[in-house]
């Protein structure tokens, strides 16, 4: 959970003052960010940023709204990759035929994000740039080995997922830069995927979430990738479990044994929802479930 609950009797708190800029191209957006300087913030769907402004947890001098930048929207195929524009909304991800066919895990996780009204406005790029450890999409991007295309005053660069999520709410996007697109591999039918999220009430953030991708060869797992949500300040790969899965049969307890390793090397936090040892327990249980569902979905 990225922001504290309640505490403001008497209704909606009004955000601090800021300038509002609405560029129509990526290069204009970069120019505006450079002109305003470090205190500018990018506005995508506003579904994380506006709650923060209302609670006065951020004081940007200007918001650079990307809503008018058409080139940041939509999904296309480029060889063996899908290229997803940063401003593609959660709602669009859930219905995009290329994503449903080649990267269904992204839709599986997005379906658990917030509620329909938030999903109409919130964007994939915004969720990844925000990098909330309880957010569902960073762990999926990490498990997919996504590449992040970032543009700034010095041009474009591509950052692998392993370097993108640098710390709590921090990413490789520098001041004056913006996330342009996310590239993920187009997975064939031999891959099955699943996202398992544990929370206690509707519309809540994950206490723990697990994304599993499994490539099957007949009755064995040839390769598995596992991304963990909310098991530390950044999303994590369950590397020990992944290594234990290579070549494992679907039928003799190998999945259960590997799932038992899912919390290795994690240091989850304690909060009102859970203590670290409970989160580690959840990670093991959810990894088992996600792996079994993913293996069943592969052909």
């Amino acid at each position: 959970m990225a922001w504290p609950l309640g505490g403001h009797a008497g209704g909606t708190v009004i955000p601090p003052e800021f300038d509002y800029l609405r560029p129509h191209s990526v290069s204009d957006a970069v120019t505006e960010l450079g002109r305003v300087g470090e205190d500018a913030k990018v506005l995508a769907g506003g579904q994380s940023l506006l709650p923060l402004l209302r609670l006065r947890l951020a004081y940007p001098t200007a918001l650079v709204d990307l809503a008018g930048v058409g080139e940041l929207r939509g999904v296309r195929q480029d060889g063996d990759q899908l290229v997803i524009g940063a401003m593609t909304t959660h709602h669009e991800v859930l219905r995009d035929p290329l994503i449903l066919r080649y990267a269904p895990v992204l839709a599986q996780a997005t379906a658990t994000v917030a509620d329909p009204a938030v999903r109409h406005r919130g964007t994939l790029g915004g969720a990844l740039a925000h990098a909330d450890p309880a957010g569902d999409l960073p762990a999926v991007a990490l498990a997919l080995d996504a590449a992040f295309v970032i543009e700034g005053p010095d041009g474009r660069r591509t950052v692998p997922a392993t370097e993108f999520f640098s710390d709590y709410l921090e990413t490789a996007i520098g001041p004056g830069e913006l996330l342009v697109e996310i590239r993920v591999p187009a997975l064939g039918p031999e891959w099955g995927t699943a996202y398992e999220k544990f929370n206690r009430v509707a519309q809540a953030w994950a206490i723990v979430g697990v994304a599993a991708l499994v490539r099957r060869e007949g009755d064995t797992i040839a390769e598995a990738r596992i991304g963990l949500t909310n098991m530390g300040p950044t999303p994590l790969r369950a590397s020990a479990a992944e290594a234990a899965l290579a070549g494992v049969s679907l039928h003799n307890g190998g999945i259960a044994a590997a799932a038992g390793l899912a919390a290795e090397d994690t240091e989850p936090s304690a909060d009102l929802s859970a203590q670290p040892d409970y989160r580690q327990h959840l990670a093991r249980v959810l990894t088992g479930r996600a792996l079994r569902a993913a293996a069943a979905a592969a052909s």
Binding site: W3, T12, Y20, Q47, L50, R121, Q203
Partner: protein, 173 residues
Amino acid sequence: MARIEVTVDGVRYVDEVEPRLLLVHYLRERLGKVGTPIGCDTSNCGACTVHIDGSSAKSCTVLAVQADGTEVTTVEGLVRDGELHPVQQAFHDNHALQCGFCTPGMIMASIDLLNENPEPTDEEIRHGLEGNLCRCTGYQNIVRAVRQAAGGGPAAGRSPAAEGSPAAAEVTA
């Protein structure tokens, strides 16, 4: 200040607003559309739900400047020729409210749900209304109302904005 042009419940407005003005405050305090209430300050309750270009949005989590160039529908814009919208009628018929505070948002979210999925199961109705909290009813009659509205045909999923607004009056600040 920023200039916005926005159509709300069929009327076109041209206004100067502070960039930090939330859409819900614009609707309530500038336009007097107090049919859209504010129930929380964390974007969780859904009481403030409206449609922007036919899709549900929490108007407390949208800036008025972000609504520039769009068509906004509030619960006050649902009545057509003196007739309640089918979802309003179904809430009435099924006693789907007690205090009524969640009702405007619940109705706007229900119309959006039926627009996406004209024949939802009870399970799908409950998931589709996940972003709207009700402290009174226990949700049973709300689910019943949505089910009844769905049974009445596709009109239940229609947001007036999606049909194109009537010849709009224009109001300039």
